[in-house]
Symmetry: C2
Subunit: 105 residues, 2 copies
């Protein structure tokens, strides 16, 4: 069921991009650990087996960047573009991240 898989993907990207864009500008060591662990656990628990395997490989090749909000959000934009490329989707311009994701919080 490709429609359900795509809807799950869209929901997940929305959550994690918004999360990196609200991540602290100057995170503590503890906050850096939390974000790094979060992405590794998500890649294990992600409920689409093929996507989870792919995501784990991406994390190995491109480990989460957690030193600042900017680093984390640009890293995730890059990783999402890697997935886009594999799925033959257009590349997203990471300069437009802030306009796209607003958590309303």
């Amino acid at each position: 069921n490709a429609t359900a898989k795509a809807a799950l993907g869209r929901a997940t990207w929305k959550l994690i991009h918004t999360m990196t864009l609200r991540y602290p500008e100057s995170p503590t060591a503890d906050e850096r650990d939390a974000l790094n662990s979060y992405f590794h656990l998500l890649s294990r628990l992600y409920p689409c087996g093929e996507c989870a395997t792919e995501f784990q490989q991406l994390l190995k090749k491109f480990p989460p960047q957690t030193s600042s909000r900017r680093a984390a959000s640009l890293w995730l934009c890059f990783v999402h573009n890697q997935v886009n490329e594999r799925l033959k989707k257009p590349t997203f311009d990471c300069a437009h991240l802030d306009d796209e994701y607003d958590c309303g919080c």
Copy 2:
């Protein structure tokens, strides 16, 4: 911006309900740890401060149940209903979880 906050909530519930419904029927100790940690990290990193605080309190009061797919998915359904109650939304009948969440995987 209430619309953005609601859309973020919907996306997050979709991911995590689908996740618990794909969680192993008989998880290993390591898989149980992973799910438990995932929820605690999500409650710290969730990009709506008021919601994150609320979620952390719920996790303290009702710790994640990780012993099986059924336990985990019913626990999350219960927790979501606690949030529904606070927000004056209708209670969801947890018997319909399987019909509602299909990851297409």
